[in-house]
């Protein structure tokens, strides 16, 4: 009897096809992560992509412009197909790829070269019971645990009430040694977002801000089992708002970054103390501030009271052009492991900025 498992060309070539898909997606990542449906839809919502490089090129007729013969029952099932009505001809070819949020997040993670999942924590890591071996019901036969399998067999037979002279092993009895793959929970995390709402945000800036925040949160959720959020809006004074208001608000007045940092400091020493919380702060700024004095005030608040309490503080300057604001320049002096600075003028800047929020230095 022939062994047909030898013929695996189809699987191999499909793997090559998938690799090409992934490559194509990686190339378009900056625009894909900004897609509305991926952010606002349910986790299962799919982004349908047309990837031109994965359509087999050829000389062919334009199907939209070409008449074709079909059985009436097929024609009747076409959308709008009844005599002459508005409708579309069926999709040309199956070259669409459907991508779900988690898959995109996977590719994003790979692309940012973040390495294996490891939480960031400067405090004591709150590991649970950790062991090199675990016992699982499935695994490679090379890791078969004889003793545990026999034990399982005895238990099973005892449960069924059937006495047996010798423990007999069935497939279900087999137990295997495995490595524990996932890190233990390291406590909770909070993401505090800060934004200056004096003056309204243009559509592009709003889009960039929302997109960045969405993916930063998604990435952090891979590291921590529980992530909560807080939103601080400010002009000359600061207050806490909900997520929707955070992105929508636009008021008039001047800007005092220090007001927001003061409120942030209070959250970090009150509700979100270091002992129990891993804190991340993302400050979206366009670089404007009240003046040099407030710049200094903000810098010292940041350096003395905020940075010691957080895992990471990311200052994101959302602004056209390439010139950095005085505030940015000031912060450069204290940038390091805990304070990272990013400049976002358009979609292409999002990926490098996202990398900063979860990047982990090798110790």
């Amino acid at each position: 009897m022939q062994d047909w498992s030898f013929y695996r060309q189809g699987e191999r070539d499909q793997a090559r096809h998938l690799e090409r898909i992934r490559r194509a997606i990686r190339e378009r990542l900056p625009e894909l992560i900004a897609e509305e449906i991926i952010q606002s839809g349910s986790p299962g919502a799919e982004l349908r992509l047309t990837i031109q490089s994965l359509v087999e090129d050829s000389f062919r007729y334009d199907n939209d412009e070409t008449a074709f013969v079909a059985e009436r029952s097929f024609a009747e099932r076409l959308p709008g197909g009844h005599g002459c009505e508005a409708g579309t001809l069926p999709g040309e070819e199956w070259f669409e790829t459907a991508l779900r949020r988690e898959e995109l997040a996977d590719i994003l993670w790979e692309e940012l070269e973040l390495g294996p999942l490891r939480p960031i924590s400067h405090g004591p890591l709150l590991f649970g019971h950790s062991a090199p071996w675990d016992v699982a019901a499935r695994g490679s036969l090379t890791l078969w645990d004889r003793r545990k399998s026999l034990l399982q067999s005895v238990r099973r037979q005892a449960r069924s009430g059937v006495p047996a002279p010798l423990p007999a092993l069935t497939a279900e009895d087999l137990r295997f040694r495995t490595w524990r793959h996932t890190p233990e929970p390291v406590g909770q995390a909070v993401v505090i977002a800060i934004r200056d709402v004096s003056g309204s945000m243009g559509a592009l800036k709003k889009h960039l801000t929302r997109t960045f925040f969405f993916w930063a949160l998604t990435l952090l959720r891979r590291l921590y089992p529980e992530v909560v959020t807080e939103f601080i809006c400010h002009h000359t004074t600061a207050r806490i708002v909900d997520e929707e208001a955070f992105f929508q608000l636009g008021e008039s007045g001047g800007t005092k970054v220090s007001s927001a940092y003061e409120l942030c400091r209070q959250l970090l020493s009150g509700r979100y103390r270091r002992e129990a919380w891993n804190s991340f702060v993302i400050h979206f700024s366009d670089g404007d501030n009240w003046g040099e004095r407030d710049n200094q005030l903000a810098e010292s608040l940041l350096r003395e009271s905020i940075l010691p309490q957080v895992e990471r503080f990311q200052y994101v300057e959302v602004r056209e052009g390439s010139r950095r604001s005085p505030l940015y320049r000031l912060f450069e002096g204290i940038a390091g492991e805990r304070l990272v600075l990013s400049h976002v003028a358009g979609l292409p800047d999002l990926l490098p900025a996202l990398r900063q929020i979860v990047r982990r230095e090798e110790r």
Partner: protein, 400 residues
Amino acid sequence: MQPDLAQRLDRLTKRAEAYGLRPYPVDVVFVPMALLHELSAYGVLGRFGHWARGKLYHRLKVQSDAGLLRLYEVAVQGNPTRAYLWQGNSLVENTLVLAHVLAHSDFFRQNAHCQRIPADTVERIRQHAERVRRYEESFGLAVVEETLDHILSVEWYVAEGRTGERQPEDLLGHLLDRAPLADWQQDLVAIVREESLAFWPLRRSKILNEGWASFWHATLLREELTSDAEYVDFARLHADILRPGVDRLNPYLLGFTLIRHIVHEHGLEEAFLVRESADDRSLVENHFDDRVVEELQLVVCRRGDDGLCWTGESAEVRRTLLRQLENAGQPVIRVAGEEDDGTLVLVHAYDGRPLHLLSAERTLGHLAALWNGPVSLETVVEGRTVRIVHDGRRVWRLDG
């Protein structure tokens, strides 16, 4: 093999021969479904790999898993004819399938166009795959894949004249003669060309071939089945194969209907002659009429000014179908020559149907990569003659 099946195959063969069929001996192999998908995607087992074939394989698998597609068999031409049957077929299914395959085998053997397929095609295809693998090892997967991407964009642009001269439709042949390719790239072009030439006769006679096989599985089975229960199974299966409305036009249904009409009107002898000398286009040209349109409820779908519409006007259906079948549905593109600056000049024989422009531009890009120089294509866009030129980096259009 189910014990009864060998005897049934024997009886079917004898009865088929009594009717006048001349199949090659049939070699039956039972396989898992994944293998049928692979055969459908690659045509032959052991063919060289490419991501596009993997994509097709995967699509077949997905449709099959979703219950949208059911493959029973794949027959590979040759002497003996290899019949791959799904391991899970019932006895009735296998009986029908074997009758179907016998007729396929007869078609491979007796049809004039198929007779031009070299007898050792399957073996040669395996040797090709071996050479492709060696190139992949020597030059790397990515490089070979890129070259194949270029070549496969004009996979079917091959031709063989009786005089031995290069035909203008033979794009791949022209590249072989004149393109500045490395030896191994030349070999890849030759491989693709040879395989396309071998598969062309089947490509141009899908309707005829499947119609022929369906007609005979119906005829032979009626005499073979032993019980009412078996008959019910057969009827269900037969109806399933001939089911309309799943894809635009079911070639099994159309072919079956045409052969039935021929037999009804002119007798079996005429049908045998058709099987010998026709292809899809000539089959439709000579035997497709109002009654077929009526019986199968065929319509022409087109995009009008106010959207999608369809009409069942008989003459138009016939006209449209004939056009669809010309050159197996492929735009006719010929090599016109080379310009002084080295540009390879191609001409599209425009017949009222415009090309898909983006695809054409990208294909020209592939050709330019192989040609290592500019390639131009004359075609008609929105009523005006244009020349599309691709130099390997950019593409642009010139008027007429």
